[in-house]
């Protein structure tokens, strides 16, 4: 069916090629520039009568079209006045200049499902051209937006191909932390993505991949960046108002390419990219490590005899001539690798306003820099538009993509198997089936095969029965399915092979019917735009797994036969059946394009809202004053553009699930009379009063442009309050239920955003330079907690002991740590309890080893009882960056161009948990349990002898280490500055001379080399301050980010 559809497109394209007119044709060429002599790309060239499009200009403004002689050419480009050029006989070269209407302002943006001139927007919208992200191949293009939009904080904290890091617009929107210890993660609050007018919720898939089970790819990573025409980021409540039922975290609109050239364009992009392993962690190897261990035992064991015994009992130390132990294995080298990858994309498009089409075919293959990981993506994106008359339009999209990825033994973001294995002592032999390093081996040889398919079909119809009234109906069906087959051979799983199968599917039906009315009076003095729509969504999701243990042998990698005693499976409890209905209306009034007032109101009902108040009512208001339109401002010559706008509005995002409202039944583990029974699940009490999370936002902005708009500046301030955040709270045990979910939590974000664009006038027209910079200062504050308390400490049940502390008025995601002040140089420096005469000690039962002595860490005793315990924890730091932003440059000289992009994250604290992990390996010098890799102590200033003024406490006193725990995870010793400036990417491109390429039948060709993730400037002691979880913890099991170098080529026929 699908193939048929595509075929019909191709046939249509071929027909169009034949259709090229046979009248007397002349070849016209030339270049279109703006008044600064910068070439204007993408200018539509058409012939006036009979009216039809004949082509477009290249990126540098050059064009070459074949048109009937004596016709009139019409050049059109948004933001510029149309230009008419009658052809004069004999002249075939035209170098023309197009007059700019005020630079950015005349662009149109699709906001709230309506095409709107930028000058009438009251909300905050930032647009990015797809071109800006197309030179870097990426499994998930969202990572390329880093540092490009003020207020959009993207942290690419996983290098797993196709997976996405964390993303938050104008600060986090949820303070809930689930999981514990190393696996604690923040509830993701990614903005809503709207692809070609259809919302796609990114959070569901993302959250899912994190937690385990599926392949972890989201629908967003199934879109090839080459097919993206533009990306619009809607930041405030007015801009997102009409996406309200999910828009509380902001909205990112993605528009894919359309055909708009009568001459069909075939564009081929090929990229070969080389992924390099970034800096890894330093460890001691071989003999150095063995002697370090021996020395440690000799110096610190209880007696010398015990030390000798311990050494002699440990073959890893004593049997050093045995080839099994005589190693210096560089574990990291077995798991990290450099890879060569490729990406190809073919884009065929053409047509004019009455009929146009696009077919985009993509192939992307990336092997991860961790062994046994990778992503292959096959995509086919098509659309067509048919507009026989001005009154009627039909548009259809059919997109299908398939991805196949492997995450080895880890999950979408974490590689815990690899994390632990690279943390292994170098004395162990390299992984092989004879050496027993099963975890390492399984990371390398588990057969993890994931497939994800995404099928989108969409039809949109528009009809304008009377001038000014336009009815639109959009119907979208999306089917997203993924499977996972993971086979662990029997050798690696205690002689029982393990087959894990996972299958999920999500289908979604979306429909929107809208009616728009536009009316202007008195030659445009008054402009009124009314718009109303209803929206409906139905989503079903269901995931099933089976865990089959003990197949006949390793050749049977399917569930043909298995050991039923240990096998299990079934439907996962995250199945959803979601429905939502919304009604929305908006009205916009503009007076002389000077004053613009806009209001929207929407009513949303979702199935995850409790029956007590099923509807949410969300208003929004926006005001805009185009100062430059005022009479007095027209005379100010230096000021090209100035405006003020402000908005207020409220949005919601559904949270929770049907089961949170009405409860779960579960199958009991025990039986009654040998028959299975069901009972109420007593974990969460049902609560029919649940409501969606709402976000109320105030936002104001000032924009101005000076020096002929060469310098433009935008300042925005915002205050956003996220209320009714869903959070579980424990209730008294006489309630039968353990917890109840409520909407009592609130969070506030406020901050400032700055954007600056500078395009200096170059004396030499061959040169062209653009500089853009943006920065955002954001603060998050907890505003309300369940039961009206002012503070809540959420304990962490794990050995990491990293609780979360929420306190009203403070940043919600700080750290709860013991305050480390340095090292006790001598025994006498340890304070003595005047009451008991005992030294300051670590908490727990009194034992000699718990008393602090020379070389031990000096932790602040907050409550002054000379015992270090949980009463001495302090609340410090902020794991969320306060300042984020970036800057980028574009330099062009003749055919050469250079693009660079930087991003920065400032004022952020991170916890170097990975370093803690590695220091903690010193607790077991004899390697009785798990012998971990040893950190070289010379690199860190570690206390070794009495009187050493060291930065790090004594790590070697292994008999006492478990008692006083100097290298505890929750210590400010490992709290570091996570600020960084990252050189994200640079691209050097060369555009071939068209006259030369034309000889080979190529209308334009461009070669480029680019680098991604080039350098990170920071003061962090770990490898990468960006590679931390959303909670600011540098976990050992993170997937390092690749550094990639690309050689790419764009050819257009």
């Amino acid at each position: 069916m699908k193939i048929k559809f595509i075929r019909s497109f191709l046939v249509g394209a071929a027909l169009l090629l034949l259709h090229v007119a046979v009248a007397q044709q002349v070849l016209i060429k030339g270049r279109i520039t703006d008044k600064d002599k910068t070439g204007l790309g993408n200018v539509t060239i058409s012939v006036e009568s009979p009216k039809r499009d004949v082509g477009k200009t290249e990126d540098d403004g050059r064009f070459e079209v074949s048109v009937p002689a004596k016709s009139v050419l019409l050049f059109r480009l948004q933001g510029y006045l149309p230009l008419k050029q009658p052809l004069s006989a004999g002249k075939t070269t035209y170098n023309l200049m197009m007059e700019s209407t005020t630079q950015e302002l005349e662009e149109t943006v699709v906001v709230g499902y309506q095409q709107r001139a930028r000058s009438t927007l009251t909300g905050s919208v930032v647009s990015i051209s797809g071109k800006e992200i197309q030179d870097i191949p990426s499994g998930n293009w969202v990572e390329l937006l880093q540092g490009r939009v003020a207020g959009l904080n993207i942290q690419n904290n996983t290098g797993s191909p196709g997976m996405r890091g964390t993303i938050a617009l104008r600060g986090i929107s949820n303070i809930n932390v689930s999981g514990s210890g190393d696996n604690a993660f923040l509830t993701p609050t990614s903005p809503l993505f709207v692809i070609d007018g259809v919302p796609v919720d990114e959070n569901t898939g993302f959250e899912y991949g994190f937690e385990t089970a599926g392949p972890g790819l989201s629908p967003i990573s199934m879109i090839p960046p080459e097919d993206i025409e533009s990306i619009d980021i809607l930041k405030d409540a007015q801009a997102t108002a009409l996406y309200g039922s999910r828009g509380a975290f902001g909205v990112i609109l993605v528009t894919t390419k359309r055909g708009n050239s009568e001459v069909p364009i075939v564009r081929y992009t090929a990229q070969t990219f080389f992924n390099a392993v970034p800096a890894l962690r330093q460890t001691l190897g071989g003999r150095q490590e063995r002697w370090m261990r021996v020395d440690q035992i000799l110096r610190y064991d209880t007696t010398l005899a015990r030390a000798f015994q311990r050494i002699n009992d440990s073959p890893i130390l004593a049997d050093s001539l045995n080839p099994y132990w005589n190693n210096s294995t560089d574990w990291q080298s077995y798991f990290y690798r450099n890879t060569i990858n490729q990406s190809h994309n073919l884009d065929i498009s053409g047509g004019r306003q009455t009929f146009n089409y696009k077919v985009n075919m993509g192939y992307f293959d990336e092997r991860g820099i961790i062994e046994n990981t990778g992503l292959k993506r096959y995509t086919l994106q098509t659309n067509m538009q048919y507009r026989p008359t001005e009154q009627f339009m039909l548009m259809a999209n059919v997109n299908s993509s398939l991805a196949r990825n492997s995450v080895g033994s880890g999950n979408a973001t974490m590689q815990s198997g690899v994390g632990r294995s690279v943390n292994t002592s170098s004395l162990y032999p390299a992984p092989s089936i004879f050496t027993g390093s099963m975890e390492a081996l399984s990371a390398l040889s588990v057969n993890d095969d994931n497939k994800t398919g995404n099928f989108v079909s969409q039809v949109e119809m528009q009809y304008e029965p009377f001038r000014g009234i336009r009815a639109t109906s959009t119907l979208n069906f999306t089917y997203f399915a993924s499977t996972k087959d993971r086979f662990t051979p029997e050798l690696l799983n205690g002689n029982r092979s393990l087959l894990y199968n996972y299958y999920d599917r999500r289908n979604r039906l979306y429909n929107r019917n809208s009616l728009a009315y536009t009316k202007s009076w008195m030659h445009g003095t008054h402009l009124l735009n009314l718009f109303g729509f209803s929206e409906m969504e139905m989503t079903d999701y269901r995931a099933e797994t089976s865990n089959l243990v003990g197949t006949v042998n390793d050749r049977f990698q399917a569930g043909l036969s298995y050991d039923t005693r240990f096998s299990g499976g079934g439907t996962l409890d995250n199945m959803t059946n979601y429905r939502s209905v919304s009604y929305a209306g908006s009205a916009m009034y503009s007076f002389k394009s000077r004053y613009i007032v806009e209001g929207t109101y929407r009513v949303d009902g979702t199935s995850t809202t409790g029956g007590a108040s099923p509807w949410s009512y969300n208003p929004s208001v926006g005001l805009r004053w185009n100062i430059k339109e005022e009479g007095f401002a027209k005379d100010i010559n230096w000021l090209d553009n100035a405006l003020i706008r402000g908005t207020y509005g409220r949005n919601i995002t559904p949270t929770g699930s049907l089961s949170d409202l009405y409860g779960w039944y579960k199958i009991d583990p025990q039986t009654y009379n040998n028959r299975p029974t069901t009972s109420l699940d007593l974990i969460n009490a049902p609560n029919v009063n649940l409501r969606p999370q709402s976000s109320t936002q105030w936002s104001g902005a000032v924009e101005f442009g000076v020096l002929h708009n060469r310098l433009s500046f935008t300042y925005e301030a915002y205050y956003r309050q996220s209320d009714q955040i869903l959070r579980s709270k424990p209730i008294a045990d006489h309630n039968a239920f353990a917890n109840v979910l409520t909407n009592e939590t609130s969070l506030v974000n406020y901050g400032h955003e700055f954007m600056l664009n500078f395009r200096p006038k170059m004396a030499n027209p061959d040169w062209n330079f653009t500089f853009g910079a943006n920065a955002a200062i954001n603060r998050d504050r907890t505003a309300a907690l369940p039961d009206g308390v002012r503070q809540l400490l959420q304990p962490d049940g794990s050995a990491f002991d990293l609780p979360q502390l929420y306190r009203l008025g403070r940043n919600p995601l700080g750290f709860v740590l013991y305050n480390y002040e340095g090292v006790y140089l001598r025994d006498e420096d340890v304070p003595v309890n005047p009451l008991t005469g005992l030294r300051y000690r670590a908490g727990g039962t009194l034992a000699e080893g718990r008393f602090f002595r020379a070389g031990d860490p000096k932790f602040t005793d907050i409550n002054g009882d000379y015992i270090l315990d949980e009463n001495d924890l302090v609340f410090v730091g902020n794991s969320q960056p306060r300042i984020t932003g970036g800057f980028n440059t574009f330099t062009q000289y003749k055919n050469w161009s250079l693009t660079t992009s930087f991003s920065f994250t400032l004022d952020r604290d991170i916890l170097n948990t990975a370093l803690t992990d590695r220091f903690r390996n010193y607790a077991d010098p004899a390697g009785v349990g798990f012998a971990g890799s040893y950190v070289p102590l010379d690199v860190y200033n570690v206390w070794r002898n009495q009187g050493d003024n060291a930065d790090f406490p004594n790590v070697s006193d292994f008999t006492r280490l478990p008692l006083y725990n100097p290298y505890r995870y929750n210590s400010t010793l490992f709290l570091e500055d996570g600020s960084y400036l990252k050189f994200n990417s640079a691209t050097l491109g060369y555009n071939f001379d068209r006259n030369w390429t034309r000889r080979f039948g190529i209308s334009s060709a461009r070669l480029y080399i680019s680098g991604f993730n080039l350098y990170n400037f920071n003061r962090y002691s770990g490898p990468d301050p960006e590679l931390v979880t959303a909670l600011g913890r540098d976990a050992s099991s993170g997937f390092p980010n690749r550094r990639s170098y690309t050689f790419g080529m764009n050819i257009q026929f």
Partner: protein, 345 residues
């Protein structure tokens, strides 16, 4: 024109400031949180007068309260509800530690250098931990002791987020019992018998019957020697009486580690008594040293000698006594062998 410019300027200022400052007022202040979840695990205190008693770990602070907290004792009243005049506000000299006592000190001076005299109220609360101390000062002559209901007080807990009173604490001191083990009744101050017994006996044979001496046959009398010369250093005297109440020469206990039995100095034998110069209380603090029992709670005496057992082997026979003495002074511990005198051969 100028006016217009001005107007823009003011508007910009108003718009931005109104948003920034107008909005931040909705954000709660960042001040300490004071929850309902602070509680004391102990509300009735019955310390013994003359002993420093430290009630540690008696406060639980829940997840809704910010630390550090400040604690204060208020509303001290006697059981009749009358305010107590100055008893608990007066400060008494007590010895507090400056450096850690670890049992390796080689002179009284070295021990005393590690502690200093400070003036503290008898009933004291530690400012940030809420732990309650009852110092070894005062006397039952003016402190109400059980069976009197004693005193009541409240604890004021505060941080910058608020304050709360934890009410209904009772202080019911017990009268002095200057040493342990003792069977002095805390209410009456009377004891059932004037002596205790040895903690253990190992293989001691009696002279008379060559039978074993049980622990119950070794009576231990602890008494304070009142009319000793006034010297700066206090003493601990050990003496032994046979079944006829004649003194036994301590040298007979020839397998006794006299030098390391008591953390005392200047050991001498006078009138068949072993005398040490010691620092009080004994043990000085609850830390395990070579002079204490396991855990460091009691001082440990182990007195032994070589004897020929019933099979003719020379073996070590010993008896021991674990004790504590709280009151400073010249104390004597006297062991009386009842019925049987050890057979020293």
């Amino acid at each position: 024109m100028k006016l217009a410019k001005h107007r823009i300027h003011t508007l910009v200022v108003i718009l931005t400031t109104s948003c920034l400052f107008g909005c931040t007022k909705y954000i709660p202040d960042d001040r300490d949180s004071f929850g309902e979840d602070i509680s004391y695990n102990v509300t009735e205190f019955s310390p013994t007068i003359g002993r420093s008693t430290f009630y540690n770990d008696i406060v639980s602070v829940g997840p809704n309260t910010s630390q550090p907290l400040t604690f204060r004792i208020v509303n001290l009243k006697d059981a009749d509800g009358q305010p107590v005049s100055t008893l608990f506000s007066d400060k008494f000299p007590v010895k507090v530690w400056r450096q850690m006592y670890d049992g390796t000190e080689s002179s009284i001076e070295e021990i005393e250098a590690k502690r200093v005299v400070e003036y503290r109220p008898i009933l004291e609360i530690l400012e940030h931990s809420g732990n309650i101390n009852f110092w070894n000062a005062g006397s039952s002559s003016y402190i109400r002791t059980q069976p009197d209901s004693g005193y009541t007080f409240d604890v004021e807990v505060s941080n910058s987020g608020g304050r709360r009173y934890v009410r209904g604490f009772r202080l019911k001191p017990q009268r002095e019992r200057p040493y342990e083990p003792t069977d002095v009744d805390p209410e009456t101050g009377l004891s059932l018998s004037p002596h205790g017994f040895a903690s253990y006996v190992r293989g001691m044979l009696g002279q008379r019957t060559r039978g074993g001496i049980p622990a119950s046959a070794i009576r231990v009398y602890i008494r304070k020697l009142e009319n000793m010369p006034a010297t700066t250093s206090k003493t601990l005297t050990l003496s032994f009486l046979d079944s006829l109440l004649n003194p036994i020469d301590p040298r007979n206990f020839n397998d006794t580690d006299w030098a390391h039995m008591v953390h005392g100095f200047n050991r001498r034998i006078e009138d068949n008594k072993v005398i040490y110069d010691v620092a009080y209380p004994i043990p000085l603090t609850r830390v395990e040293t070579r002079y204490t029992s396991v855990g460091g709670e009691m001082a440990r005496l182990d007195i032994g000698y070589r004897q020929r057992d019933v099979f003719g082997d020379i073996v070590r026979a010993s008896f021991g006594y674990n004790f504590r003495i709280f009151e400073e002074g010249h104390w004597e511990i006297q062991f009386r062998f009842m019925g049987e005198t050890p057979a020293f051969n």
